[in-house]
């Protein structure tokens, strides 16, 4: 019998006050330890869906559950502190040094100083940053380094689930490949559950265990990369795969 999914969305819909439907009822389940990529063009609803998971957006209908508990029953602040988050540009707080950025969530959770210091050192080492870089300001780092700090920050409080919103989108090709390699390494070492939003199908194939293809607020197909390639469930999915091969 399959274990209970870590993250579950049931008929999640989002309609804005002006009538536009960003999500038209999406159901999916993410198992513990797996990485699911959500792909689709901009406006497909993939980021909106991701943001319902940590209640940055409240769905108009449907339920999101984490570890079986509806997120609507959780305090949003608590929920977010227990969920990792990496945005496209790092979203580092510019007037805080790297170490202060990394220890953000542990500090919010009230960890004592020694424990925070230790954890920050550990995290920076994990993402391949030197102790010297811990004292720098974000503006003094390269784009790739900033993104690594964002990963370290997302992992610092050891959350079971990490939400990634186009985390490699703003990087140049070489840096992106280097970070992809590192992501896979972290994935095998830490076994975290992750939801990765990307518009890059190649990235999804490289990093994800399963891929969800979204279009116009719907999840067209969710499956392993090979499954998508062999049995596309929708003409849009096959067209997308054609494009990738072409």
């Amino acid at each position: 019998m399959p274990s209970e999914p870590l993250l579950e969305a049931v008929d999640v819909a989002k309609t804005y006050a002006d009538g536009t439907a960003a999500l038209a009822g999406v159901t999916l389940a993410v198992q513990s330890g797996e990485t699911v990529a959500l792909v689709g063009e901009s406006g497909s609803g993939k980021t909106t869906l991701l943001r319902t998971f940590n209640r940055m957006i409240e769905p108009s209908a449907g339920t999101v559950r984490i570890e079986g508990k509806p997120v609507m029953d959780l305090d949003p602040i608590d929920l977010r502190r227990r969920t990792g988050y990496v945005p496209q540009d790092g979203g580092l707080i510019p007037h805080w040094r790297v170490e202060r950025n990394v220890e953000l969530v542990p500090r919010l959770l009230g960890w004592d100083r020694d424990r925070r210091k230790e954890r920050t050192r550990e995290m920076l080492e994990l993402v391949g940053l030197s102790a010297a870089q811990a004292g720098r300001y974000p503006a003094e780092l390269s784009g790739g380094q900033r993104q690594r700090v964002a990963f370290a920050r997302a992992l610092a409080a050891d959350p079971p689930l990490i939400l990634l919103d186009e985390p490699f989108g703003a990087l140049d090709a070489l840096t992106r490949l280097e970070l992809h390699r590192q992501f896979l390494e972290l994935k095998s070492r830490l076994g975290k559950t992750a939801v990765l939003v990307t518009h890059d199908l190649g990235e999804a194939f490289r990093l994800a265990d399963r891929i969800g293809v979204m279009r116009a607020g719907r999840l067209l197909q969710l499956g392993a990369p090979a499954e998508l390639a062999d049995r596309p469930a929708d003409p849009y999915v096959s067209a997308l795969l054609e494009l990738r091969r072409g």
Binding site: R80, R82, Y85, P87, L104, L108, E140, A150
Partner: protein, 518 residues
Amino acid sequence: MGRIWPIWGAILFLALPLQAADRVVVGSKNFEESRLLAEMFAQLLESRTTLQVERRLGLAGTQVCFEALKSGAIDVYPEYTGTGLVSILGEQAQGGPDQTLNRVRSEFLRRWNVWWLAPLGFENSWEIAVPRELAEREHLETITDLARVSKSLHGGFGHEFVGREDGLLGLQKTYGLQFRSVDHLQQAIQYQAAKQRTIDALDVYSTDGRLILYNLKVLRDDRDFFPPYEAAALVRGETLKKHPEVGAVLGLLAGSLDEDAMRAYNLRLQEKHESEVVVARDALRAIGLVVKEGNAPEPVSRKPGVLAYLWGARRDLGRLTLQHLGLSAAALLLGALFAIPLGLWLERHRRWAETVIRILGLLQTVPSLALLAFMIPLLGVGALPAIVALWIYSLFPIVRNTYTGVRDADPKAVEAATALGMTPGQILREVRLPLAAPVVMAGLRTAAVITVGTATLAAFIGAGGLGEPIVTGLQLADSAMILSGAIPAALLALVVDALLGWVEKSLRPAGLEREGSA
């Protein structure tokens, strides 16, 4: 904060209406004759009573003076019966001097318990004057005579006179005057124009010293068109009750001055730039009410060049600069204490933001003199209303910059901070506010420059500061005196701006400097 307290304390002290029992405050309007009469009142009271006399000379016009009197900010000031009737009571002028005096006396007593003492003996009314040479050639004695020849003459009148029913409009109807042409001129230019014979007739005040200087003849108002403007002391009833000697002593001046004497005194003030302190002393001597030597403050010489003047007045200017800084600092501090929290509140309640900021922006456009005048019925004269007015001006830049600075602070960082579980309060304190600090500071800096600049106008309501020599200098057409206030005021604004610019830079959070080059 700690270092500001002494200044702040001093300001509060200055602003508090000092209700010392043995004190009387003499006020005046902002022109030479009013200041001279007030100075005479003050010197006389100083020499003949034991009261402590305070001078608040140069208040901006009738409304300001009268409100100050009603509110008790001043106890006495020189006023004209016609002004009382037309400007204060809002009635039509009718009848002769006695009728006018009786009318204002009874109404002022009934409405405000304000007393008109016995008139000083001269009128300073609107009159029509012509060059003496023209008057002699055409045998002009009265305005009726003027109407006879007006078709061939050029009139040159002040802007106010031209537009008023009790000015040129009514005059033309009453006398059938018809000039060949009428120019609208500034008062100072009118005299020059008459001298060059560009104009042949002009409106004047009957005691203006320049009538002598420019050799003009005042034509008799033979149909009593102009209301009588007899000068008299206007005193609060409460003051007279508490200190009856004020009425007795000022009563000594009844009927003691005439138009010729006043023209001569005004000439000394207007053209020879003598101090009203000296002229007042001479005037009292001439009447025989000799004032003890040394009682009045020593006159300041007014003739040297700007630099020498600045040097000569350095002690006064130092005091005025401190006063100026005190007014500005108090207004700015209060502004910051109110406007920064308001800006933060608006960021959390954004639907109010536009309305509130727009209202503050509108307040900003109220002319400063008008705003100062509005303050008087509420707060009297002196430092307090000035600080409140300056405070109002300081709000807009601070609120606007605080609101937009906090609202627009690095949206990506704010988004990430939210997604990682910082509370809105934590984000405000730890992220938005530090990032917005330079923008908030820039708003404070703008407010400071506005405040220091506008504080020069505080002198109009007797709050002192560097506007004092500017206001007095303007009335006396004494450019050295004007500059002695204007130059330090401008320097002060520059220094404050530079200083706050430095603070702004040092408040810029570390880590932001290199953003542009990263």
